[in-house]
């Protein structure tokens, strides 16, 4: 198979298309995850995908692997249960920031303490997209959402600090930086402990258009302009992406 289409072996053709809106970044993360699985030569016999609830939560259903679609916020503890029961499996969690950091935030806090060797890929789009654009744990202060029409009054969650506090692998990347995105996922999948890959990901329909973006492309260009790659840092600055040391 051509290298460019090899990722397709990880996808269930008949389950496509995805329910995601035009301009959404989730598909980019989905494909990059497949690319990373392909590069590492993972297969159906050693890989299990787990997801939570929400737009990103639907990802598990598109994988041509055994996959589990958990209750809202519970992808991490279920993935930990799978890994603890069978250490030979590569367990990958794909879910959104609302699922992993909001309703499931307590599990992240403790999974990092346990350093359970699972890979968590977070689709961080700063919004609850599936339910229509409510403020999420990663929404920037001042962000206009349907539940914060006057701007979000809260500090967004510092997930890097949480994950790094317990010495776990943390990478931040975006859906614009495709090579870096794949590289981050590969590095995460190779890492022997708990890994968190924070993918900044555009939601145009329920977030971007309310905070001044024209379309998905506009959001990607914003990522290009804003984020600089730094794979040497111990702790990433707000405008940096990278695989931390």
């Amino acid at each position: 198979m051509e290298e460019t289409t090899r990722f397709k072996r990880f996808l269930k053709d008949k389950n496509l298309p995805t329910p995601w809106c035009p301009g959404c970044g989730n598909g980019i993360v989905l494909k990059s995850t497949c690319d990373a699985l392909d590069e590492l030569d993972f297969d159906v016999k050693n890989t299990v995908v787990v997801s939570g609830i929400g737009c990103a939560g639907r990802s598990a259903g598109f994988f041509n692997l055994d996959s589990v679609h958990t209750a809202h916020g519970r992808a991490i503890p279920m993935a930990e249960g799978i890994k603890m029961a069978n250490n030979d499996l590569n367990v990958v969690v794909l879910s959104g920031d609302g699922d992993l950091l909001g309703i499931g935030g307590n599990h992240l806090l403790h999974a990092t303490r346990r350093n359970t060797p699972i890979t968590v890929i977070c689709f961080a789009n700063e919004i609850y997209g599936m339910t229509g654009g409510q403020v999420s744990p990663t929404s920037k202060r001042g962000a206009k959402t349907v539940t914060t029409p006057g701007g979000s009054p809260d500090t967004p969650i510092d997930v890097q600090a949480i994950v790094k506090a317990h010495g776990c692998f943390y990478a931040r990347t975006t859906t614009f930086h495709l090579k870096h995105l794949k590289k981050s996922i590969v590095a995460g999948l190779r890492h022997p402990g708990f890994t968190f890959i924070d993918v900044i990901c555009q939601c145009i329909v329920n977030n971007g258009r309310r905070i001044g973006f024209k379309d998905g492309y506009d959001m990607l260009m914003y990522y290009k302009k804003t984020y600089k790659i730094n794979d040497q840092a111990r702790l990433l600055k707000e405008t940096e992406i990278g695989i931390t040391k």
Partner: protein, 348 residues
């Protein structure tokens, strides 16, 4: 065969181990903590203390999907936290066992006192329709015996099974014959062998969610119902002590049913062990009696359920609050008897 003296919670652990338990996740809670404590040094079982009951039940679901027989144990407050995921596990058809050692609620209630307040929660706690199998033994020996039943029924129905206990029988010490009962092995393939999608969304098979076809959902519920009924038939456990002279049937279960034995000279006794699905034989048994009395350590949760099967009024002796007092029961039984006599027409 040796008959060691075991605490109720220890008996559950001994049986679970013998039934092939491979994974346990739990969170400390009175009066169930001994189960976690007792398990920590078992070599063959992966045991983990999670951050809460929600994490525990989900780790258990994951471990079961990955191929291990899995269990968690908790009490009322933790059981409440698990409810969403219990329904989810029914939807994904994951075999597992949940032990709920009941204590007085609601809220934090009376943590060290026994109760029977989670009857409805065991049956209807999660949202949506599902059909759980629930066992509620009344002795340490039976806790041992029916831990096997719970594991086997879970495997056969490929769904969560609830083993109810209470702070009384779980903390009681009795001798137990550590028999090896037959065990049912896992038939479902573990994760990492297929291309299945396990989802809590409505679905037809393991391929993908189908969320806008009512017929698919109805077919799914029907299959769940049928599966539960078929499996439950093999576990039709109850105790019926007939008293030929009695015109009244006294129904009780769990800890409180131990007190009912004191009244077998005056009443016939009925005690369901598999409390859900309801024991259908009770319909025939109830027909033989003029009066039915049910005793519960709650405000009548099980009576409301049984009346739908028996179609006969049941007098309720409600004893919440964790105290079992024979004199109190006798007084209440006598009061019901006196009330009935008053209602009967006077003999000519």
């Amino acid at each position: 065969m040796s008959k060691p003296l075991l605490q109720g919670n220890q008996a559950i652990v001994a049986a679970a181990e013998s039934a092939g338990l491979g994974f346990f996740a739990g969170y400390p809670i009175t009066p169930a903590s001994e189960i976690l404590l007792e398990l920590v040094d078992r070599k063959q079982i992966k045991v983990v203390q999670m951050e809460d009951e929600i994490a525990s039940i989900n780790a258990v679901i994951g471990a079961s999907l990955a191929g291990r027989k899995a269990m968690t144990a908790t009490s009322g407050p933790g059981f409440s936290l698990m409810q969403e995921s219990i329904g989810h596990a029914h939807m994904m058809e994951v075999p597992l066992v949940i032990v709920n050692v009941q204590r007085v609620g609601p809220g934090t209630g009376m943590p060290t006192f026994p109760a029977q307040g989670d009857i409805m929660q065991s049956r209807y706690g999660s949202h949506g329709d599902y059909c759980p199998i629930v066992f509620y033994p009344n002795s340490v020996e039976e806790l041992y015996r029916h831990t096997f039943s719970a594991f086997n029924a879970a495997e056969e129905s490929s769904s969560p099974v609830i083993l109810l206990s209470d702070g009384f029988i779980s903390h009681l010490y009795e001798t137990v014959e550590l028999k090896k009962y037959p065990t049912v092995n896992r038939s479902k393939l573990p994760l990492g062998l297929g291309k299945r999608h396990f989802t809590g969304l409505t679905h037809r098979d393991y391929s993908r969610p189908i969320t806008s076809d009512p017929e698919v959902h109805r077919a799914l519920l029907k299959r769940f119902e049928k599966k539960c009924e078929t499996v439950a038939k093999k576990y039709n456990f109850y105790e019926y002590i007939e008293n030929k002279d009695a015109d009244t049937l006294l129904i009780s279960y769990g800890a409180l049913s131990r007190a009912a034995y004191e009244f077998k000279d005056e009443y016939s006794l009925f005690r369901p062990i598999r409390i859900f699905p309801l024991i259908k034989d009770l319909q025939d048994i109830a027909d033989r009696y003029e009066n039915i009395i049910i005793m519960e350590m709650n405000l009548g949760q099980y009576r409301n359920q049984l009346e739908s099967v028996v179609h006969q009024h049941m007098d309720l002796i409600s004893l919440p609050g964790g105290n079992i007092d024979l004199e109190e029961i006798r007084t209440k039984l006598d009061a019901i008897k006196a009330r009935r006599r008053k209602r009967l027409p006077a003999a000519k």
